[in-house]
């Protein structure tokens, strides 16, 4: 049942897209592309749920041979384990809800059917990526989702900012993809296959070969493949495309740039988990940790509601990377799932808010209700504002904030849009890690516990540092998320005119919000609380640092260091640490001291973040402006997003342009000179000789042949009498004569 079900899951969205494509070829439109795409997605969702029962503890890949090249056969196939099926459900579920949401949000757009077709294509690509059992399939899906991301970011391509943003996204992720491809080729050179699972797969082979040189090789390959994840999951330093990707329609941001595609990087890293070495794990963890903090700090000072969420996404993705790098496989993927739901909810909620203002704009400007989105967007695109005072001047692309996305224009919306408010509040509580009743708390707590546990177990400075990063990011997250809520929904309306016109969104938009809000509670994520359902694969190449292999005494010693370090005097349950092997433990022991410490600390930082936010943006006992003035340099650093864009623009782009100019000059003078010289010689000298030869010799020959043929033809045509009986007579006489001559008897 596995293969047919997966085939249905893949074919439904693909068929929806194909219908659009075929109709487009005939220059027509399928009348209800939106229903078609949505139904296809819902069918895929149902099949994904059916697949839940098909999961077995030790799955085998289902493959077919695809092509044979030079003695190596590439296969294509499916691999279904518990992680795959959970990813399938997440992707199809979020995608279905986004489809439904889009029916309201994109209503009236001139390219409305195309939007749904693209969503279908994206869903297919993402699902293909998820179920592939080999790196080649993953890479194909990987590039396809990249393409869809490009198409959908640039969906309103009339806007220069959207057109630029999609190009930026495509090119930036491409940088990472090149690394990924090199990494794949390294693995291929080593193992002569791109299949991950099964007998001759990469993992089986890697587990068997463990020489030191191989370890170096594996480390480099692992980091290079992680480069792809850096690009796709917007990790530092390739994160700059994701905030600009917010130029796309908001449902796209929710689906692609929050829930699914950007999580593909995390998924890939998790898939590569069995071949991660110590070095590559650390690189991954640090990249994730630094990204988490940098993005969180940038998010504090943004005013564009979607950009705050974008940076929040980057930060949370960094979180997941850190978790996987630190060995908390289950925690990382658990956070991926919960994050997909609450971040999609946040984006859709912000879309609902934008939609509310949007409709207002349409009313204000012309009576054609919500006629064409890009026109309204075009309104905000007044040229010359690029570096205006109140613009978000750090951006190189998409600089100014459209008024309907500017949180400074909002406020007090909770009475106008109660459903949006409540659902977004639930998501915010979840992402901030408010204890016990929200899923975000559990996944985040699991990451914290996993990192701390690894730190204690290995007595590793790295992991303590990573733990601190995690905590810090958690606190900042709580702060800026509540800043968003307070600025948007609480307080007094800042822009009275816009506030007057705001309204609750239609049912097609609020229903997905409500469903996603329900999904933000831990009840529906029970699969993750089942210890046996998702198990981390073994990591044969990952060894604890040498001193971690010492006697249990030193281990407990390490724990007490940790305990004293965090000032928590809870030295119980040390005995639970015994009997665990050092490989990839993943913090399944829920009652260890690490878990308790992590939980307490995470509650404390989340609480303080929320409290500070309340003081700043609700009570206003503290003034954000004055703090900003006091810490001007830091504020500027945050405001300019650590100058990443400036760096790229000033250094990389300038270098490229300079290099191109150089080549252009070389091209113009040297290459063109040679070509022109050769051309002159050929035309004036060689061609003249050839021309004479052609006219005299070749033409003469041809004419002679024609004349001779003509003369012969004139003589021979007499034979043709036109009387069939003569012909027959000659034929028969010929036959008799021939037989007589050659004596066939």
């Amino acid at each position: 049942m596995i293969v047919p079900l997966i085939s249905i899951i893949l074919l439904c969205p693909l068929a929806a897209f194909a219908v659009f494509g075929l109709f487009s070829l005939a220059n027509r439109r399928f009348p209800r592309q939106d229903y078609l795409s949505t139904v296809a997605m819902l069918a895929a969702l149902v099949c994904s749920f059916l697949l839940l029962r098909e999961v077995v503890p030790t799955p085998e890949p289902h493959t077919v041979n695809w092509i044979s090249l030079g003695g190596v056969t590439f296969s294509m196939g499916f691999y279904l384990d518990s992680v795959t099926v959970i990813m399938l459900i997440v992707v199809t579920l979020v995608s279905s809800l986004v489809h439904i949401f889009s029916m309201g949000y994109m209503h009236g757009d001139p390219r409305y059917p195309r939007f749904f077709a693209y969503l279908s294509l994206f869903s297919f690509s993402m699902l293909f990526l998820v179920v592939s059992d080999n790196l080649l399939g993953i890479y194909i899906g990987w590039e396809l989702v990249g393409l869809c991301s490009y198409l959908l970011i640039g969906f309103w391509f009339e806007k220069d900012s959207a057109a630029n943003a999609c190009k930026k996204a495509f090119l930036t992720t491409r940088v990472g993809d090149v690394g990924m491809f090199i990494g794949m080729m390294m693995l291929f050179t080593k193992f002569q296959t791109l299949s991950l699972y099964g007998e001759g797969g990469i993992f089986a082979q890697a587990a068997a070969q463990l020489s030191t040189a191989d370890m170096v090789w594996l480390s480099i390959a692992g980091v290079l493949i992680f480069c792809g994840a850096i690009g796709k999951s917007a990790q530092m330093p390739l994160h700059t495309w994701l905030p600009d990707a917010m130029e796309g329609p908001t449902p796209v941001s929710a689906l692609i740039h929050a829930a699914t595609m950007v999580a593909a990087g995390v998924y890939l890293t998790a898939r590569m988990f069995p071949i991660l070495t110590e070095t590559s794990s650390l690189v991954i963890a640090y990249v994730g940790g630094i990204t988490a903090i940098i993005a969180a700090t940038i998010a504090i000072v943004r005013f564009d509601i979607k950009r705050v969420l974008a940076y929040s996404t980057i930060s949370q993705l960094g979180y997941m990377m850190l978790a996987i790098g630190a060995g908390s496989y289950v925690a990382g993927l658990f956070h991926l799932t919960t994050h997909a739901f609450f971040k999609a909810l946040l984006f859709l909620g912000s879309g609902s808010v934008i939609h509310a203002f949007h409709a207002m704009h349409a009313h204000a400007h012309d009576d054609e209700h919500e006629h064409a989105h890009e026109h309204e967007h075009g309104d905000h695109d007044a040229p010359g504002h690029e570096h205006g005072e109140d613009s978000d001047s750090g951006h190189i692309l998409g600089s100014e904030i459209p008024p309907d996305q500017d949180m400074r224009n909002m406020g007090g919306l909770r009475r106008k849009m109660p459903i949006t408010f409540v659902t977004m509040l639930i998501a915010t509580l979840s992402i901030s890690g408010v204890p016990f009743i929200f899923s975000g708390f559990w996944s985040k707590d699991k990451i914290l516990a996993g990192v701390l546990e690894r730190a204690m177990e290995w007595n590793s400075v790295h992991h303590y540092l990573l733990f601190v990063m995690t905590l810090l990011a958690a606190g900042i997250t709580a702060f800026y998320m509540f800043r968003l809520i307070f600025m948007t929904f609480f307080g007094e309306p800042r822009n009275q005119e816009m506030h007057e016109m705001a309204h609750e969104s239609p049912l097609s938009m609020t229903v997905p919000l409500i469903v996603l809000a329900i999904l933000s509670f831990p009840v529906v994520n029970t699969l993750w609380f089942n210890k046996d359902y998702v198990k981390p694969p073994p990591q044969p190449h990952l060894h604890a640092p040498q001193h971690a292999y010492l006697a249990p005494d030193s281990k407990t010693g390490g724990q007490s260091v940790a305990l004293s370090l965090f000032g928590v005097s809870e030295a119980v349950a040390a005995e639970e640490e015994g009997g665990h092997d050092t490989h990839a433990d993943d913090g399944h022991h829920g009652h260890g001291p690490a878990h308790t410490i992590a939980m307490v600390l995470s509650i404390i930082v989340a609480g303080s973040g929320i409290f500070l936010s309340w003081l700043f943006y609700h009570r206003r006992t503290l003034s954000a402006e004055s703090v900003a003035t006091t810490f001007r340099p830091i504020y500027n650093l945050f405001w300019h997003k650590y100058y990443f864009d400036e760096f790229y623009d000033g250094v990389l782009v300038a270098l490229t342009v300079w290099k191109s100019r150089l080549f252009a000059q070389f091209d113009g003078s040297v290459v063109d000179g040679i070509v022109n010289g050769v051309g002159t010689v050929t035309r004036d000298i060689l061609a003249a000789f050839v021309g004479i030869f052609d006219n005299r010799v070749v033409d003469g020959l041809v004419n002679r042949v024609a004349q001779v043929t003509w003369a012969i033809g004139g003589k021979v045509r007499r034979i043709q009498t036109g009387a069939i009986q003569t012909y027959l007579f000659v034929v028969l006489a010929g036959i008799v004569l021939l037989i007589l001559i050659f004596r066939a008897l």
């Binding site: 034979i719 009498t721 036109g722 009387a723 007579f729 028969l732």
Partner: protein
């Protein structure tokens, strides 16, 4: 009766057919010659089937039946062509229809 009896009859019919096709100046007479030729072939098939193969093998007869069918088809098309030619040239004498003369 031996095989050679039949073969001789068939050869004579064949030669008569050829003679008709060669000498008769009327398209329909030519058709009759052709029919004679075809019949001599069929007779050969049947004769060989009778004498050269085991009794239960009657493939030669079936081929002869196919030959008859082909002859029918041929006759129909031939006459159609003759009618068309007659309309076009007002004659069915083959020596008068020599548009292809070089």
């Amino acid at each position: 009766m031996t095989l050679q009896h039949y073969l001789v009859i068939s050869a004579i019919l064949f030669t008569f057919g050829i003679f008709a096709v060669l000498t008769r100046r009327n398209a329909i007479s030519i058709l009759m010659g052709i029919e004679l030729i075809l019949n001599s072939c069929n007779l050969n098939f049947a004769a060989f089937s009778r004498f050269m193969t085991p009794p239960e093998d009657i493939s030669g007869q079936i081929i002869a039946i196919f030959g008859i069918v082909l002859a029918a088809a041929e006759a129909a098309v031939f006459l159609a062509i003759i009618l068309a030619i007659y309309r076009e040239f007002g004659s069915i004498r083959p020596d008068e229809v020599d548009t292809l003369k070089g």
